[in-house]
Symmetry: C2
Protein backbone atom coordinates (compact mmCIF):
# COMPACT_ATOMS: atom_id res chain seq x y z
CA UNK A 1 0.00 0.00 0.00
CA UNK A 2 0.96 3.62 -0.41
CA UNK A 3 -0.54 6.89 0.79
CA UNK A 4 -2.02 9.35 -1.67
CA UNK A 5 -2.83 12.96 -1.06
CA UNK A 6 -4.59 15.63 -3.07
CA UNK A 7 -3.74 19.13 -1.85
CA UNK A 8 -5.22 22.51 -2.56
CA UNK A 9 -5.88 25.88 -0.93
CA UNK A 10 -9.31 27.41 -0.46
CA UNK A 11 -10.67 30.84 0.37
CA UNK A 12 -14.38 31.26 1.11
CA UNK A 13 -15.02 27.76 -0.23
CA UNK A 14 -13.30 28.45 -3.57
CA UNK A 15 -10.09 26.83 -4.80
CA UNK A 16 -7.36 29.48 -4.85
CA UNK A 17 -4.34 27.29 -5.50
CA UNK A 18 -3.68 23.66 -6.42
CA UNK A 19 -1.02 21.39 -7.87
CA UNK A 20 -2.55 21.93 -11.30
CA UNK A 21 -2.35 25.73 -10.96
CA UNK A 22 1.21 25.37 -9.69
CA UNK A 23 2.06 23.47 -12.88
CA UNK A 24 0.55 26.27 -14.96
CA UNK A 25 2.61 28.93 -13.16
CA UNK A 26 5.76 26.82 -13.45
CA UNK A 27 5.27 26.37 -17.20
CA UNK A 28 4.70 30.10 -17.71
CA UNK A 29 7.89 30.71 -15.74
CA UNK A 30 9.89 28.13 -17.74
CA UNK A 31 8.59 28.98 -21.23
CA UNK A 32 8.00 32.73 -20.85
CA UNK A 33 4.78 32.20 -22.76
CA UNK A 34 1.20 31.60 -21.69
CA UNK A 35 0.35 29.96 -25.01
CA UNK A 36 3.29 27.53 -24.71
CA UNK A 37 2.26 26.74 -21.13
CA UNK A 38 -1.34 26.20 -22.24
CA UNK A 39 -0.25 23.87 -25.03
CA UNK A 40 1.81 21.71 -22.67
CA UNK A 41 -1.21 21.34 -20.41
CA UNK A 42 -3.52 20.60 -23.33
CA UNK A 43 -5.55 23.76 -22.65
CA UNK A 44 -6.70 26.41 -25.08
CA UNK A 45 -5.01 29.79 -24.66
CA UNK A 46 -8.38 31.23 -23.64
CA UNK A 47 -8.91 28.56 -20.97
CA UNK A 48 -5.39 28.98 -19.56
CA UNK A 49 -5.80 32.73 -19.47
CA UNK A 50 -9.11 32.31 -17.63
CA UNK A 51 -7.39 30.18 -14.99
CA UNK A 52 -4.70 32.79 -14.43
CA UNK A 53 -7.32 35.53 -14.19
CA UNK A 54 -9.42 33.51 -11.69
CA UNK A 55 -6.31 32.90 -9.60
CA UNK A 56 -5.44 36.60 -9.63
CA UNK A 57 -8.99 37.59 -8.66
CA UNK A 58 -9.14 35.10 -5.79
CA UNK A 59 -5.76 36.18 -4.46
CA UNK A 60 -6.21 39.86 -5.20
CA UNK A 61 -2.83 40.34 -6.87
CA UNK A 62 -1.34 40.25 -10.34
CA UNK A 63 0.65 37.06 -10.93
CA UNK A 64 1.37 37.16 -14.66
CA UNK A 65 2.61 40.04 -16.78
CA UNK A 66 1.83 39.79 -20.48
CA UNK A 67 3.44 41.89 -23.19
CA UNK A 68 1.81 41.68 -26.61
CA UNK A 69 3.43 42.25 -29.99
CA UNK A 70 6.88 43.80 -30.47
CA UNK A 71 9.89 42.22 -32.13
CA UNK A 72 9.85 39.30 -29.71
CA UNK A 73 6.19 38.53 -30.50
CA UNK A 74 5.11 39.22 -26.93
CA UNK A 75 5.30 36.84 -24.02
CA UNK A 76 4.23 36.27 -20.45
CA UNK A 77 6.21 36.18 -17.28
CA UNK A 78 5.45 35.84 -13.62
CA UNK A 79 5.38 38.98 -11.52
CA UNK A 80 7.38 38.92 -8.25
CA UNK A 81 4.07 37.99 -6.53
CA UNK A 82 3.61 35.14 -9.01
CA UNK A 83 7.13 33.83 -8.36
CA UNK A 84 6.55 34.14 -4.62
CA UNK A 85 3.27 32.19 -4.76
CA UNK A 86 4.85 29.49 -6.96
CA UNK A 87 7.75 29.02 -4.55
CA UNK A 88 5.66 29.00 -1.41
CA UNK A 89 3.06 26.59 -2.78
CA UNK A 90 5.76 24.27 -4.16
CA UNK A 91 7.47 24.11 -0.77
CA UNK A 92 4.12 23.69 1.00
CA UNK A 93 3.21 20.81 -1.32
CA UNK A 94 6.59 19.08 -1.00
CA UNK A 95 6.71 19.41 2.79
CA UNK A 96 3.10 18.26 3.14
CA UNK A 97 3.65 15.19 0.94
CA UNK A 98 6.76 14.18 2.85
CA UNK A 99 4.81 14.52 6.11
CA UNK A 100 1.95 12.39 4.75
CA UNK A 101 4.43 9.67 3.73
CA UNK A 102 6.03 9.83 7.16
CA UNK A 103 2.67 9.62 8.95
CA UNK A 104 1.83 6.58 6.83
CA UNK A 105 5.08 4.82 7.64
CA UNK A 106 4.69 5.50 11.36
CA UNK A 107 1.26 3.87 11.46
CA UNK A 108 1.50 1.11 8.88
CA UNK A 109 5.12 -0.11 8.94
CA UNK A 110 4.91 -2.04 12.18
CA UNK A 111 3.00 -4.78 13.98
CA UNK A 112 -0.58 -4.55 15.31
CA UNK A 113 -1.39 -1.35 17.18
CA UNK A 114 -2.22 -1.29 20.88
CA UNK B 1 -6.91 30.97 2.83
CA UNK B 2 -6.78 27.51 4.28
CA UNK B 3 -5.17 24.25 3.17
CA UNK B 4 -7.31 21.30 2.15
CA UNK B 5 -6.22 17.73 1.80
CA UNK B 6 -7.89 14.60 0.51
CA UNK B 7 -6.18 11.45 1.78
CA UNK B 8 -6.46 7.83 0.79
CA UNK B 9 -4.39 4.64 0.51
CA UNK B 10 -3.81 2.73 -2.71
CA UNK B 11 -2.56 -0.71 -3.64
CA UNK B 12 -1.88 -1.55 -7.28
CA UNK B 13 -3.69 1.62 -8.32
CA UNK B 14 -6.86 0.75 -6.37
CA UNK B 15 -8.20 2.61 -3.35
CA UNK B 16 -7.83 0.39 -0.30
CA UNK B 17 -8.69 2.87 2.42
CA UNK B 18 -10.08 6.40 2.63
CA UNK B 19 -11.75 8.80 5.03
CA UNK B 20 -15.13 7.61 3.77
CA UNK B 21 -14.26 3.95 4.45
CA UNK B 22 -12.94 4.96 7.87
CA UNK B 23 -16.33 6.53 8.60
CA UNK B 24 -18.06 3.30 7.59
CA UNK B 25 -15.85 1.19 9.89
CA UNK B 26 -16.32 3.69 12.74
CA UNK B 27 -20.10 3.57 12.36
CA UNK B 28 -20.13 -0.25 12.33
CA UNK B 29 -18.00 -0.14 15.48
CA UNK B 30 -20.27 2.40 17.20
CA UNK B 31 -23.65 0.95 16.20
CA UNK B 32 -22.79 -2.77 16.10
CA UNK B 33 -24.84 -2.95 12.92
CA UNK B 34 -23.97 -2.73 9.25
CA UNK B 35 -27.51 -1.66 8.34
CA UNK B 36 -27.46 1.16 10.92
CA UNK B 37 -24.05 2.27 9.62
CA UNK B 38 -25.32 2.16 6.03
CA UNK B 39 -28.38 4.22 6.94
CA UNK B 40 -26.27 6.93 8.58
CA UNK B 41 -24.18 7.19 5.43
CA UNK B 42 -27.24 7.21 3.16
CA UNK B 43 -26.18 3.93 1.55
CA UNK B 44 -28.26 0.85 0.89
CA UNK B 45 -27.33 -2.19 2.99
CA UNK B 46 -26.23 -3.95 -0.19
CA UNK B 47 -23.96 -1.05 -1.19
CA UNK B 48 -22.39 -0.78 2.28
CA UNK B 49 -21.81 -4.51 2.36
CA UNK B 50 -20.14 -4.30 -1.06
CA UNK B 51 -17.77 -1.63 0.24
CA UNK B 52 -16.78 -3.75 3.23
CA UNK B 53 -16.23 -6.78 0.99
CA UNK B 54 -14.09 -4.76 -1.47
CA UNK B 55 -12.03 -3.44 1.42
CA UNK B 56 -11.53 -6.96 2.78
CA UNK B 57 -10.54 -8.30 -0.64
CA UNK B 58 -8.03 -5.50 -1.27
CA UNK B 59 -6.48 -5.92 2.17
CA UNK B 60 -6.71 -9.70 2.26
CA UNK B 61 -8.21 -9.90 5.75
CA UNK B 62 -11.63 -10.08 7.37
CA UNK B 63 -12.59 -6.74 8.93
CA UNK B 64 -16.25 -7.22 9.84
CA UNK B 65 -17.91 -10.18 11.54
CA UNK B 66 -21.63 -10.49 10.90
CA UNK B 67 -23.98 -12.70 12.89
CA UNK B 68 -27.44 -13.16 11.44
CA UNK B 69 -30.67 -13.94 13.29
CA UNK B 70 -30.82 -15.04 16.92
CA UNK B 71 -32.56 -13.32 19.80
CA UNK B 72 -30.59 -10.10 19.24
CA UNK B 73 -31.58 -9.97 15.55
CA UNK B 74 -27.99 -10.35 14.40
CA UNK B 75 -25.44 -7.58 14.14
CA UNK B 76 -22.01 -6.71 12.83
CA UNK B 77 -18.83 -5.95 14.61
CA UNK B 78 -15.28 -5.24 13.63
CA UNK B 79 -12.77 -8.05 13.88
CA UNK B 80 -9.49 -7.28 15.71
CA UNK B 81 -8.01 -6.61 12.23
CA UNK B 82 -10.86 -4.20 11.52
CA UNK B 83 -10.30 -2.33 14.79
CA UNK B 84 -6.57 -2.22 14.07
CA UNK B 85 -7.08 -0.78 10.58
CA UNK B 86 -9.57 1.79 11.88
CA UNK B 87 -7.17 2.98 14.58
CA UNK B 88 -4.12 3.12 12.34
CA UNK B 89 -5.87 4.94 9.53
CA UNK B 90 -7.48 7.40 11.95
CA UNK B 91 -4.11 8.26 13.46
CA UNK B 92 -2.51 8.46 10.01
CA UNK B 93 -5.23 10.84 8.84
CA UNK B 94 -5.05 13.04 11.94
CA UNK B 95 -1.24 13.23 11.93
CA UNK B 96 -1.15 13.92 8.19
CA UNK B 97 -3.74 16.71 8.42
CA UNK B 98 -1.91 18.38 11.28
CA UNK B 99 1.29 18.22 9.24
CA UNK B 100 -0.41 19.73 6.18
CA UNK B 101 -1.74 22.60 8.32
CA UNK B 102 1.72 23.14 9.78
CA UNK B 103 3.37 23.12 6.33
CA UNK B 104 0.83 25.69 5.19
CA UNK B 105 1.48 27.98 8.15
CA UNK B 106 5.24 27.76 7.66
CA UNK B 107 5.01 28.90 4.04
CA UNK B 108 2.09 31.29 4.05
CA UNK B 109 2.06 33.00 7.46
CA UNK B 110 4.99 35.29 6.86
CA UNK B 111 6.34 37.97 4.53
CA UNK B 112 7.59 37.43 0.95
CA UNK B 113 9.87 34.42 0.50
CA UNK B 114 13.51 34.73 -0.51
Amino acid sequence: MEPRCKLWLEKDGKVTMSDYRLRLLQLIDETGSLSAAAEQLGLSYRRAWGKVRDLEEHLGSQLVDSASGGASGGGSRLTPEGVDLMRRYRRFSETAREAVDRAYRVEFSRGPSA
